[in-house]
Symmetry: C2
Subunit: 138 residues, 2 copies
């Protein structure tokens, strides 16, 4: 049994062929991927299957959904120990306006914010937009 299969089983997700492929695809990419990206990478696969796979992965804490301001939901694998289901891994995301890629900056947590009286924070999303390290070198 491969590492990926073990990871999926640990998260109570049956390691089907399609799921393993999607996991592998996301692990190789270092950037957040949209449903459409996966669709293009696996043209033979059904969009619905990919969609539901991402949903399952998200529910089980295998990936986290990222809203990078493009109005297209992106997903990235959770780091080991990432408890994003519990909204306790509030790392920030960076969206490059040049290459349009979105990355997790897992080492950079969202600072604590004081809210006005009566407001109760449960989750936070911080996206920095600008030029990524690759694009800024050219």
């Amino acid at each position: 049994m491969t590492d990926i299969e073990k990871t999926l089983e640990n998260k109570s997700v049956r390691p089907t062929a399609m799921r393993i492929l999607i996991y592998k695809y996301m692990a190789e990419k270092e950037i957040a991927v949209a449903l459409t990206d996966i669709e293009n990478a696996f043209e033979k696969a059904e969009r619905t299957t990919l969609y539901r796979t991402l949903k399952t992965f998200e529910e089980k804490g295998i990936v986290h959904q990222i809203d990078d301001g493009t109005n297209i939901s992106k997903f990235a694998l959770c780091e080991p120990g990432c408890n994003c289901e519990l909204d306790q891994d509030l790392h920030l995301h960076f969206h490059c306006s040049n290459c349009d890629k979105t990355v997790c900056l897992t080492e950079h947590k969202i600072p604590h914010i004081n809210l006005p009286t009566g407001y109760i924070a449960e989750d936070a999303n911080l996206v920095i937009k600008g030029i990524c390290d690759t694009c800024s070198q050219h």
Copy 2:
């Protein structure tokens, strides 16, 4: 000439009847509004007109677009002195997961974030999700 008309002219936007109505609508609402909200408020109006009005308002710095994580673009009037066109008014937004409303917390600016080497920040978007002051009282 009313205050709204003056405001629009100051921003080089012709104060047509429809635009004044939309401005008034947004001024009365204290929360960010989606295109659909405006559509429902003015059923006789064309969606395209409303859409383009919002785009025009945004270009001219009358409103700013808010991405609150719902994947539906919302808009809110800019405060006097808000220079969001220049990405220099990085206040945060709060999205209530109970009543689904989004508000600007204009007094709360996004703190400065140190990025990894090579990353250049140009804009930032911080949305806190939770329970708003109205909902937390019930």
